[in-house]
Symmetry: D2
Amino acid sequence: MKRIGMLTSGGDCQALNAAMRGVVKTLLNNKEKAEIYGFLDGYKGLIYGKYRTLGGDDFSGILTKGGTILGSSRTPFKTIQDPDENGLNKVEAMKQNYKKLKLDCLVILGGNGTHKTANLLRQEGLNVVTLPKTIDNDLWGTDMTFGFQSAVDVATAAIDCIHTTAASHGRVFIVEVMGHKVGWLTLHAGMASGADIILLPEIPYDINKVIAKIEEREKKGSRFTIIAVAEGAISKQDASLSKKEYKKKLAEKIYPSVSYEVAAAIQEKTGREVRVTVPGHTQRGGSPCPYDRVFASRLGAEAGKLIMNGEYGFMVGIKDQEIVKVPLEEVAGKLKMVSPDASIVKEAKLLGICFGD
Amino acid sequence: MKRIGMLTSGGDCQALNAAMRGVVKTLLNNKEKAEIYGFLDGYKGLIYGKYRTLGGDDFSGILTKGGTILGSSRTPFKTIQDPDENGLNKVEAMKQNYKKLKLDCLVILGGNGTHKTANLLRQEGLNVVTLPKTIDNDLWGTDMTFGFQSAVDVATAAIDCIHTTAASHGRVFIVEVMGHKVGWLTLHAGMASGADIILLPEIPYDINKVIAKIEEREKKGSRFTIIAVAEGAISKQDASLSKKEYKKKLAEKIYPSVSYEVAAAIQEKTGREVRVTVPGHTQRGGSPCPYDRVFASRLGAEAGKLIMNGEYGFMVGIKDQEIVKVPLEEVAGKLKMVSPDASIVKEAKLLGICFGD
Amino acid sequence: MKRIGMLTSGGDCQALNAAMRGVVKTLLNNKEKAEIYGFLDGYKGLIYGKYRTLGGDDFSGILTKGGTILGSSRTPFKTIQDPDENGLNKVEAMKQNYKKLKLDCLVILGGNGTHKTANLLRQEGLNVVTLPKTIDNDLWGTDMTFGFQSAVDVATAAIDCIHTTAASHGRVFIVEVMGHKVGWLTLHAGMASGADIILLPEIPYDINKVIAKIEEREKKGSRFTIIAVAEGAISKQDASLSKKEYKKKLAEKIYPSVSYEVAAAIQEKTGREVRVTVPGHTQRGGSPCPYDRVFASRLGAEAGKLIMNGEYGFMVGIKDQEIVKVPLEEVAGKLKMVSPDASIVKEAKLLGICFGD
Amino acid sequence: MKRIGMLTSGGDCQALNAAMRGVVKTLLNNKEKAEIYGFLDGYKGLIYGKYRTLGGDDFSGILTKGGTILGSSRTPFKTIQDPDENGLNKVEAMKQNYKKLKLDCLVILGGNGTHKTANLLRQEGLNVVTLPKTIDNDLWGTDMTFGFQSAVDVATAAIDCIHTTAASHGRVFIVEVMGHKVGWLTLHAGMASGADIILLPEIPYDINKVIAKIEEREKKGSRFTIIAVAEGAISKQDASLSKKEYKKKLAEKIYPSVSYEVAAAIQEKTGREVRVTVPGHTQRGGSPCPYDRVFASRLGAEAGKLIMNGEYGFMVGIKDQEIVKVPLEEVAGKLKMVSPDASIVKEAKLLGICFGD
């Protein structure tokens, strides 16, 4: 009999439920007697001992359901070792709850921040298996994270809608896609929707090159331009600013985000009408796409297998189409970013997409 | 032989192409020889004589295509009789182009502003048939406008996505739905997506009632609340302000729109985390939904019939499921708003939806 | 306090859950104490006393969920008064279970057959409120039934997919749409997807006119033709046959359905390659479209109001955009069919759509 | 200046247009003067010299469009060297048309059969670059083919719809998914939609194991079962039959396909009601999914680069996330099948999915 704690941490995304269902189905279908403790709202649940015991029925019918049945929270764990406002040592509290429930292991689903904490718990002696969840696809050690392709689908659908209205009105349209630090989501959604210009955090842009592209399109007879801008895109000029300094700069001009700065610059320099659309949190919501359902189920199955084998301390990921286990210490704290020299960027440039560089 | 001018004016929406296809297919399939002059970018094309001659092929395959193949523009025609910046009398210019091309009639697709101008042209002696296009469903004289149901679908899909993430994080989420003057779109998208609170321009809200609803839900164990807010929603307190005064008030607090004012008030008074999402122009884009394709095709067919019969001066609309012709002078200048006493509002209240009144 | 029995009967469709949620939310939100007994699998549950007691939570989160949480069955009640195989008088059994549970009323969701039985129960003295559920839109007394628009969406999406492959290969494609007796679904899905030929049960077809249309299209340069065929479409020649005789005729030629007969005739007479696609039960499945969610919720709200007022013996429907109550005796046993002279059929013909008549 | 012939051959699929757009955009955006000859309806166009000259505009706006603007045909080229009915040597005819137009190369998009012919033309001295198109994902030498993920999406949506109706009625439902020789599409769509049983051509099934799974589910309280069956699934018993013999066997029992044989067996042995749904050609139609749009665009870009570099004789595919070129002789004539020992099959089994083996 295995006693398993499970939690989902960080911004939610599609296929979290599919992944958890995969773990639990695998255990139950393989005659592994398992007791599942679902901690509520991420690490908070583990710290404060809030959980529900879950059976097979709780995981039935959730393959296609967005969000997470356990709830999640974005607790900033920069100071995880420090006591909370009531003097509670959070790491210690998690360890105690783990022991109190006599858990055999924790299954933790999350992104970058989550993995840092998961690795810390591993170092503290807890048995941990993690699953790579994030719409950003920025986790090191896996070719893909679940949530990513679903988010690409949502963002692409938004830009598709913008396409018809932009074409009808002959406008420049900016669609701001999620991604503060990495641009995978913007890059893929931009390519999928035929964006003409794509601005990413990893490739600082020159506004003059952006404008040159708009004007080149106009010369060729295109009366509209679609620009996909990542939340964390940055101009060459501001690339050296700290995040805080840049935020301050935006605030001074009353720009809610970088997209509005880009819009204002184009409007000012060219007199063109520019509109901004921000699909925002819709990108992490809704039913997971078939790709993510298959992928998350496979990850869940392999995580279930690891648990049955008593193999802990791994993130389950995908490499070259095969599901693999990656030591947590290799994953934690690293970001998988878009290299300006990546083949996909070069291919996008071959297609005529402008990155403003 | 009929010589027909056609134009699409105002903000674009779904099924404009479907409607135009309906008109042209009807003419061509019924052996009516027709020459179609497609004026570009709305009334601008008629004023400045910019058009393309169109044949049956141009209308083939566009039933499912969003936007308008003719382009559109939101020319503010408050001063339509006044000369433009070059001294050109715009009304006169339209009449002259109409005569120069020896048109038998104009087919005009548009919303409220468009219909005012269309009626003016009718008064000036031009033959006009109009089709009711707007995602707002606020045209007087027709039960429905095309674009509306498609926009409901887009807005509902956005709120559906927000639903799963709101539930996962236990947050209050505001989704801002298009509609500056009327709330049909917000009302329908809100009801379709299970919004708990719906704020409309026609029903000024009391922020305390909004907060009371959130707290009532929390008491019952719901950890999240979805609020659908129309762009033109207004508090009871501000309902007496002019649009300009209210805009000024928002600007002073650096709120991009009313949703942010609502969000700030909730956050301030309750300490809850509130997020705002603005699907924006996506709501008028993308492929028309099947409902709109059928509806716009039917309208187009009846418009084609009117033209073959030489019956002019009408908007083609729908009443009690039948396509009808409505005299333009009865339509122009009137808005169809959501009455606070409408059955659908009462039904929404029966279901427990809070309007803040 | 109201004690309410609820059941869903007949082929399932989208928005059954939305409608039931509407009823229950209305009762609970308006301080009406209600005990809900959900009979399982349609009338069977009422006959054999199989039910679950349901609370508000059971109806939470099901607005967007297809199918029915109560289960359904297509019990052929032609002989409802006759005893079942164990000698049980079914009508009597239903009355006894109603009385045993001291019900105040039954809420019955179903289509034509269901309404006949519901009316019988009313005649037997039970309090009944019904809701018009069917993808066929063939219930008398209401402009619309829920499920219909969702089924139109599914069928249209299927024909949209067929469109691109038909165009690529230059083929004649037949898509068989649900509808044994009435053609509303085929008519709307056909118009929405740009079908060139639409064959309905109400308008017997002449295969030579179908072929003439295909050849006319070819002459004009169209290399493909899309035909939407209702399950119950029939040729002029066979229109006088009984359903049984026609089935026998099909079976002799080993045609699974009328579509294959049409396909064979076209292939034989013209040498063209014809393909048949049958979306089948997908048309009654999946999440309800926003239109149906709003509509079913409104119906549910008004049904809840009727129950609170103790008004029984009605179907809740829609007439001229308003939700209305219609005496059950007026509804039962009548079909709302597509008249060959209906405006929408004439409009479809204006657009060039061939009905084979 | 490059003179390029282009053709799409075999059953059409999603993203053919996206891939061709990628090639042409790459050439034109990189100042490569190119003349594009689009051969109509696959190899037929090349044999009989039917083509259109194409410019950049022809490839604008087609990224999201299903089908192929060039048309396709499934010419069985088993006897490609043999003369056609008029004595024309087809290979010779293709070579002559190639030379007559002074082509620098052919860009050929297709699946297995297409690649055999493409390799033959290469052997005959023509310059060829190919792109891997098929919903079957069965091309050797590439991890993925475009069209596959879009087809997974369509098939999954169909099974999702079936899920709600199956659950409501407590039925066994069989959905027949495309794939005569290989089961990738069925495997992925089945896993994505939570199918309980998946039958593939590569893993012959034992009907008793299928029935055992249905009964096991029933014992656990599941009142329905979803079975995803590939067109080419086969029982252990019939696995040794030739395709022709098996077809004959089906025909004798008047089963349109294997799904009906499975259905009849279950119905007969268990008395359960079983329904079959066949989404058919919808699986290769409709707009490509974002994944395929990005993937096909990348392939197109790299094909364009090969052409600019004068590198011929390759299929452009994907390996370990990188776009690669694979010598045509290595690709032609090989099938990439689902191994019964593949990790993904094992993972599916861990999840409790039954393959009937």
